[in-house]
């Protein structure tokens, strides 16, 4: 016989639970004709059925947890990537701060500070290249 699947176990659990409830209904409907010991004996059978249902649900949940490990690992890997990306943004911002500072330099250049012009342009080119390269390598 093949092993129970999670769905089989859930369904069996439901059946045991419903059987226990049906037995209880019968026991109450027929209580006038039952002795105390018969009543107690049936009650214990019901308890056993209900506990068995719980045991089956526990087993089925274990099967689902086991089967979901691969998806869970992939999702955790995505989370790790997101965290690493966020760290990268912090570095990226430093590059942007540099670019912003260079625009400020460009402003200074327009004010007639001729000595600073070549250095400002080279620095701005470097900063822009770093940004473009960074975006390019991320999209590849």
């Amino acid at each position: 016989m093949e092993k129970l699947t999670a769905d089989d176990a859930f369904e069996l659990g439901n059946q045991f639970r419903d059987a226990a409830i049906a037995l209880r209904d019968w026991r109450i409907d027929n209580r006038g004709s039952l002795s105390r010991s018969q009543w107690d004996e049936l009650d214990e059978r019901e308890i056993t059925l209900l506990n068995t249902a719980s045991s089956l649900y526990t087993g089925a949940i274990g099967l689902i947890l086991r089967d979901s490990q691969a998806s869970l690992a992939r999702l955790q890997s995505s989370v790790e990537n997101a965290k690493s990306t966020i760290k990268h943004i912090a570095k990226f911002k430093q590059a942007l701060d540099l670019a912003s500072a260079l625009v400020l330099f460009a402003g200074a250049v327009t004010s007639g500070n001729a000595a600073g012009i070549p250095a400002a342009i080279v620095a701005l080119e470097d900063a822009a290249s770093a940004i473009v390269n960074s975006a390019g390598s991320e999209s590849s």
Binding site: F10, Y57, S100
Partner: protein, 289 residues
């Protein structure tokens, strides 16, 4: 853009370089991810419902009071099996919450931190005595725009990648969690309800028990209270399942429309998903309190 550059007096290679950079990033320059931020933040909070695991593992201990001592050993063994599942169940919830936190961080992009550095830039500009007032304003505006645009482009790209790679495992994890709730935890709580019901019925209806009206009334009251507590747990699980359904649907929508991230139209359409998730979460909080 050209006007800003002209105003600042930036010319030649610098101007060309800036123009090209702006053209490259212009498409996403004004992108807003506030709906994604809201969805991720709400999902991150709603995904963690610790009562679910706590109730599931603690169920057998609660049921001892409804069963003769001869069954207690069996209940303790079952508790141990559930204890072994506790961390896996918690990880399912925590991973979804972590994922949403990551998505939310990308969407929000820590703009406040960045704007602080731009404020420093403004301060530096004010100290740049060689620039006149208009030039300072233009250079400041240009820097802010540049910085925000490039950050938005980068965030948009990373969000797309995260949503694309994360959707399938996220949907599978959500599906597994929802199955555990709907097919395992809720039916198990119905077992608890049957167990408690029979305990109080025995107390009131067992053969040879003397008919004591006061005792019967107390028994009915205690039964209603016990069943009410279990019903609250069932409702909590059902409403948590509804929350997960909304999170899964919202993320699927983002995945299906990931190429429109940052687009205002997507933001408007996505608001409906956020509203539904918020309503489901509010319902959960109503029973979780």
């Amino acid at each position: 853009m050209a006007r800003i550059l002209r105003t600042t007096g930036i010319t030649g290679r610098t101007r060309l370089l800036l123009s090209v950079l702006f053209l490259a990033i212009g498409a996403s320059g004004c992108a807003s991810f506030k709906e994604v931020t809201a969805f991720a933040s709400l999902s991150g909070n709603a995904a963690g419902y610790q009562a679910l695991t706590r109730d599931y593992v603690g169920a057998l201990e609660r049921r001892k009071q409804y069963q003769p001592p001869k069954f207690h050993g069996e209940l303790e063994a079952l508790t141990m099996r559930r204890e072994a599942q506790r961390s896996s169940l918690d990880v399912l919830q925590q991973t979804v919450a972590d994922y949403m936190q990551g998505l939310g961080s990308l969407a929000s992009g820590e703009i406040r931190t960045f704007d602080r550095s731009l404020k420093d830039l403004s301060a530096s500009l004010n100290e740049a005595t060689l620039l006149d007032r208009n030039e300072k304003q233009a250079v400041g505006a240009l820097s802010t725009l540049l910085a925000r645009s490039v950050t938005a482009l980068y965030r948009q790209h990373e969000m797309k990648k995260l949503i694309r790679d994360g959707n399938q495992p996220l949907q599978e994890v959500m599906k597994a969690t929802r199955k555990i709730i709907k097919s395992g935890i809720i039916p198990d709580l119905r077992v608890e309800s049957a167990m408690a019901g029979r305990y109080y019925d025995n107390f009131m209806l067992a053969p040879d028990n003397p008919v004591e009206p006061v005792a019967i009334a107390l028994g009915k009251e205690a039964k209603a209270e016990a069943l009410g507590r279990i019903e609250s747990r069932i409702q909590g699980a059902q409403r948590y399942d509804a929350v997960l359904e909304k999170i899964a649907a919202g993320h699927q929508y983002l995945y299906d429309n990931r190429d429109m991230l940052g687009n205002d139209e997507l933001g408007r359409q996505f608001k409906q998903h956020i509203s539904e998730l918020r309503a489901a979460y509010r319902n959960l909080l109503d029973v979780a309190r």
